[in-house]
């Protein structure tokens, strides 16, 4: 009888080409996603006069630098136009399929991959972007890499990795109405810290995770990197198979049924052991927001920000002072007393159709007290939202309905939050200057961003639900 294996063991074993004595292992890459930011790697190929080993397993999108407001056919800023042109040229040259600005399937790479059925259970997926962990939601082993590694994968379709430590995060129980995957993952990060899973591959398990839709699981795995994890994943199940059925690049008909039989086995065996186990009680998770400059600076919405003068540890007190100073928040202030200047709904974390529906449910028939932008995760999500009339709800509330791209999450396309402005955001990082130099970011779920828009301050969405479903 073979030893019981974890999901991570099974995925790892299926991709192992060479294992050296020192533990370094050469793994096969099933999907490689590239974007405008991958130009460094294409440059390295040119320097060597090298070809792309497997163009058929490589897919490109234009997302990081594309405008999400204004013209996309004639990009006003030459430096962004150049970035988009480069990815067109590089993918043409190497015969790589590009979901570019002229393609109705264009969108954020971590939305497009699952949406197109390119990401499947059991695959090893890499991309030169840290939020590649997103794809683990479908039971893939997916992680972000740097430019040199992107070049390596382009040239060899393989990557060297050391076997990671393994960690299981279990969330049992039923979460309360209004609690989303974003609240779950921010609560996990608050518990284990922004480096709580460094060096680890993480499997998310438990009844509260199983109950999540694929959209929710994508949000969850997306932010596993914010706990430092190499990758995060959820074992594939009926929810996964139902999501994938009929997706353009996924297997079809009898091939699909055969695949499901194989994918069904991609679960952690009963007696398999994890090196680290963390558990949370789903019933105790409440709506949360970040108050500081790291995703670990997360608190329940009814709490107050820390007071450094009450912190006995000097290093911790300094950290709290620096964070509060940057955020422009007085020590001990109640979170719900913090006014916001604008809102942003978008990014690979929270811009899928369910996210837009949740925000629209809160905003319907109401007005936003602050300006804001809604940027759908993909052009297909945008179209679907428009078919459902969600765009009208956002517009009627006074928010801007934009195009798809990474947009104001990192402000790479020049769409930034002004210095000193405070933004309630569905994104993944509240780092200093992340949304623009001097910008102040509070992370939360789409429904909570909608609540902040309606009230003009950080707010508990549960008070605004009155029977609405989010």
């Amino acid at each position: 009888m073979s030893l019981p294996q974890t999901l991570i063991d099974k995925l790892w074993a299926a991709h192992e080409i060479v294992r050296r004595d020192d533990g370094d292992t050469l793994l096969w890459v099933d999907r490689h996603y590239v974007h405008e930011g991958s130009f460094h790697a294409f440059g390295k190929l040119s320097e060597r006069g090298a070809a792309v080993a497997e163009p058929g397993l490589t897919f490109a999108v234009a997302d990081h630098y594309v405008p999400t407001r204004g013209s996309r056919t004639d990009i006003a800023a030459p430096e962004f136009a150049r970035m988009v042109r480069q990815v067109v040229e590089n993918t043409n040259k190497h015969g790589i399929k590009l979901f570019g600005l002229d393609d109705p399937r264009q969108g954020i790479v971590h939305v497009v991959g699952p949406e197109q059925g390119l990401t499947l259970p059991g695959l090893l997926v890499v991309c030169g972007d840290s939020h590649t962990s997103t794809h683990g939601a479908l039971g893939a082993y997916a992680f972000g890499i740097g430019a040199s590694e992107v070049a390596h994968v382009l040239m060899t379709q393989t990557i060297w990795q050391k076997r990671p430590k393994q960690m299981r995060v279990s969330v049992e129980g039923r979460v309360a109405p209004g609690i989303t995957a974003k609240d779950i993952v921010l609560s996990i990060i608050a518990q284990i810290g922004a480096d709580g899973a460094t060096g680890c591959a993480v499997e998310f398990a438990g009844s509260a995770i199983r109950a999540l839709s694929i959209e929710g699981r994508l949000t969850l795995c997306n932010m596993s990197i914010e706990a430092g994890a190499r990758c995060g994943m959820v074992a594939p199940d009926q929810t996964t198979f139902a999501y994938l059925k009929g997706r353009p690049y996924a297997p079809r008909d009898t091939e699909f049924d055969k695949s499901v039989e194989i994918w069904t086995k991609l679960v952690t065996d009963r007696d398999a052991e994890y090196e680290r186990e963390v558990s949370l009680d789903g019933a105790r998770i409440v709506p949360v927001v970040t108050w500081g400059t790291s995703p670990e600076d997360t608190l329940p919405i009814d709490a107050s920000v820390p007071d450094p003068s009450r912190e006995p540890d000097e290093a911790r007190a300094k950290y709290l002072r620096d964070a509060l100073d940057y955020m422009g928040i007085a020590p001990g202030r109640k979170l719900t007393d913090i006014a916001v200047d604008r809102v942003f709904i978008g990014s690979c974390t929270n811009a899928r159709i369910e996210d837009l529906r949740a925000a629209a449910a809160v905003l319907a028939g109401r007005t936003s007290k602050v300006p804001g932008l809604v940027s759908p995760g993909s052009s297909l999500v945008k179209r679907q939202a428009e078919q459902e009339g969600l765009d009208r709800i956002f517009r009627d509330a006074g928010l801007e309905w934009g195009e798809s791209g990474c947009s104001m999450c990192a402000g790479m396309n020049g769409e930034v939050v002004a210095p000193g402005e405070r933004c309630a955001s569905t994104t993944n990082r509240n780092f200093r200057g992340r949304q623009g130099r001097g910008a102040r970011t509070h992370l939360m779920s789409p429904a909570m961003v909608a609540a902040a828009a309606v009230t003009g301050h950080l707010a508990d969405v549960r008070a605004l639900l009155d029977g609405r479903k989010v």
Partner: protein, 205 residues
């Protein structure tokens, strides 16, 4: 890639927990090519105000301006996968970062570019930073073969992944190493296509 064995240089303390790659190099500079150089953009928004004037920041101080070693706090280089963060450190002249923990992708990028990431405990990092605050121009020696950091009259052992250590010591070209396994890769691919036909994207009409 340049080999690394041993370095004696001044060391700059950067006592910031979770010093993420957005801080190490702000996103707006990532459009640059490597040939244009990344060194001047290192920690840009922490070093310079909105008008481009230098702020009161460790690496702006005369004693630390030419530091080739930086010592940081936990979770150094967390966040975005941007290799530009490593380019910025390296192009500025930094060859070693000492910290209690590193973002995984950052330390992977570091080894690709000849930058050493040396792991010490929280207490040791704090102690080294305190020594540097007291004596800013104290020379620090990092020895990758011995895995030691000598700072004043103290010697600290550091850890680093043994695979990464060997690569840094030898300056190996990873792609050349991989290409030496070309037969194994081809054999894997052939076998895998039979085992997992579903893993290939379905052809589009």
């Amino acid at each position: 890639m340049e080999k690394f064995t041993r370095l004696t240089a001044t060391a700059c303390p950067l006592n910031f927990t979770n010093l993420n790659t957005d801080q190490i190099i702000p996103v707006r500079f990532l459009k640059r090519t490597r040939a244009e150089g990344y060194g001047q953009m290192l920690l840009h928004d922490l070093r310079f105000d909105a008008d481009g004037r230098e702020k009161d920041f460790p690496i702006n101080k005369p004693a630390w301006r030419n530091a080739q070693i930086v010592v940081g706090a936990r979770n150094f280089g967390c966040g975005s996968s941007r290799e530009g963060a490593v380019y910025a450190l390296y192009d500025y002249g930094v060859r070693v970062v000492v910290a209690p923990s590193f973002g995984d992708i950052f330390s992977g990028n570091a080894v690709q570019n000849g930058l050493v990431t040396a792991i010490v405990t929280d207490e040791e990092a704090a102690e080294i930073m305190a020594s540097l605050e007291r004596t800013p121009d104290l020379p620090v020696t990092v020895d990758l073969e011995q895995q030691t950091i000598v700072c004043g009259n103290r010697t600290y052992n550091f850890s680093i992944d043994p695979v990464r250590r060997m690569r840094l010591l030898n300056g190996w070209d990873e792609i050349a190493v991989t290409q030496s396994f070309a037969d194994r890769i081809a054999a894997f691919k052939a076998q895998d296509r039979a085992l997992r036909p579903w893993a290939v994207p379905r052809a589009q009409e």
